[in-house]
Amino acid sequence: MEKNKKLTKVLMSGNEAMGEAAIRAGCKFYSGYPITPQNELTAYMARRMREEGRAFVQAESELAAINMIFGAAVTGVRTMTSSSSPGISLKQEGISYLAGCQLPAVIINVMRGGPGLGNIDSSQSDYFQSTRGGGHGDYFTPTLAPWSAEEATKLVVLAFDLADYYRTPVLVLADAIIGQMMEPVGLPFERMFKKKLPKKTWALTGAKKRPANAVMSLLLGDRVLQRHNERLGRKWDKIKEKEQRFDTYKVQDAKYLIVAYGSQARIAFEAVDILRKQNIKAGLFRPISLWPYPEKGLKELAKGVKKVLVVEQSLGQMVEDVRAALPLGEISFLGKAGGGIPLAKEIVGAIKKSL
């Protein structure tokens, strides 16, 4: 939704745009498995990766796909896989191994409704899975949630940078609306991460003129794994400190703050405008990084706010992070799960009820 007339705008779906962003970010290996609503992304990569002389493999399973990504990451190349909710559940084992082995990789989840096979409608019910580790073991996955096709491209590029900088898998948490919708997307994509990326001296490239490298997450022996986890813990702390991202709309004088992310934030954006026209001082707080949660920004903003309304396409997941950030705040929740989408008029209604 950003206006930027300097760029050439091309009409793309979020799925295609994320694929193109990965290619422009230098993704050398992609592997995926068919699942709606992210199939256009896999198809896009199938065509474009070969055009670029890079590797694409349609994997036999989600497990194989994530482990092929693991193999590519081991060699130090940029690599990505994508799927939708049920497929991401299957990938969690591999994501845990990537985190344990400290391998950079990008995983895109174009969320759909669950639990189980659910449906193919938009949903935000994988918030817990994404921000709480998802697989086994003590780890977190930095999670970025775009609200437009264009922002999705920027966040995919950022995800590659964060993954390389912190040596850890990074999740781009889109949803069916973001994946399926077509919008004008600016080319080339902007790079948001300005720090210098470290050299991948740990990568397996053949033990030439250096000692042999090994990639492992099995760490036996007295307190070896404990120390590894402590090192990882310091990494998670650093990410929490440095990588909180959010956006706001009409918050300067806001008394009523709506908190929403991804496609739901677009609808909340519309609700803010409707409320403002009725002279109700509403504003939008939109987390971009879901882990780490942008609690610093939220705390700061909430100081002048009377009430907070959290809106999600779920039965209430992110709302827990809002409650944790604002223990004394007056927080209410509006949500629908299983493909239901809280509409602008419903958000307006919820705010007016709380006046």
Binding site: L11, T36, P37, Q180, M181, M182, A344
Partner: protein, 182 residues
């Protein structure tokens, strides 16, 4: 300016193609635009639809709410979206695929023989462009005809297909210019 366009019909009637075509046309005129399709296997055989929103300012929600323009290509689509269509919406129906006698009381509505006219143009698949021609006759303010013609020329490399599409656009437009509609 803010327009919401709903296009709906059977899979294979060029519903999605028309939606994407219009989104591209609007983009080429420097407008803000969103295109949101129905997707997934369960849509095939039933209705396929898409929503195109065009505006001078950024567009928040991409969903259809109350379309300003509805291009409806079959009966199930009309049944599905009837309630959402406003009295003052532009409504174009394909009379060839309506199982019942439809009466519409839209001030700017037309029930047209889109499929038959498309066959007259040499290709049943251009029924979607016939509807588009009718749309620019009903409301010339949304799309400039030259933008659409330019778009068709960019889309169709095959000269014969292009000719059929250009003919469909003209015929659709002429239908309503000569006031042969409801």
């Amino acid at each position: 300016m803010k327009v919401e366009i709903l296009i709906s019909g059977f899979g294979g009637q060029g519903i999605m193609s028309l939606g994407k075509f219009l989104a591209k046309a609007a983009l080429s005129e420097g407008k803000e635009v969103t295109y949101f399709p129905s997707y997934g296997a369960e849509m095939r055989g039933g209705t396929a639809h898409c929503c195109v929103k065009i505006s001078d300012s950024p567009i928040a929600s991409p969903f259809e709410e109350h379309p300003d323009v509805a291009l409806i290509f079959n009966q199930p689509s009309l049944d599905k979206f009837k309630k959402k269509i406003k009295k003052d919406s532009i409504l174009i129906l394909n009379s060839d695929l309506m199982s019942e006698q439809v009466s519409i009381n839209n001030s700017r509505g037309a029930c047209l023989s889109l499929s038959k006219i498309a066959i007259d143009c040499g290709n049943i698949k251009v029924a979607n462009v016939v509807a588009l021609g009718a749309l620019i006759a009903l409301d010339p303010s949304i799309f400039k005809k030259e933008t659409l013609v330019k778009g068709l020329k960019l889309t169709f490399k095959n000269q014969n297909t292009l000719k059929q599409n250009l003919l469909a656009l003209d015929k659709g437009q002429a239908l309503l210019s000569s006031k042969t509609y409801l």
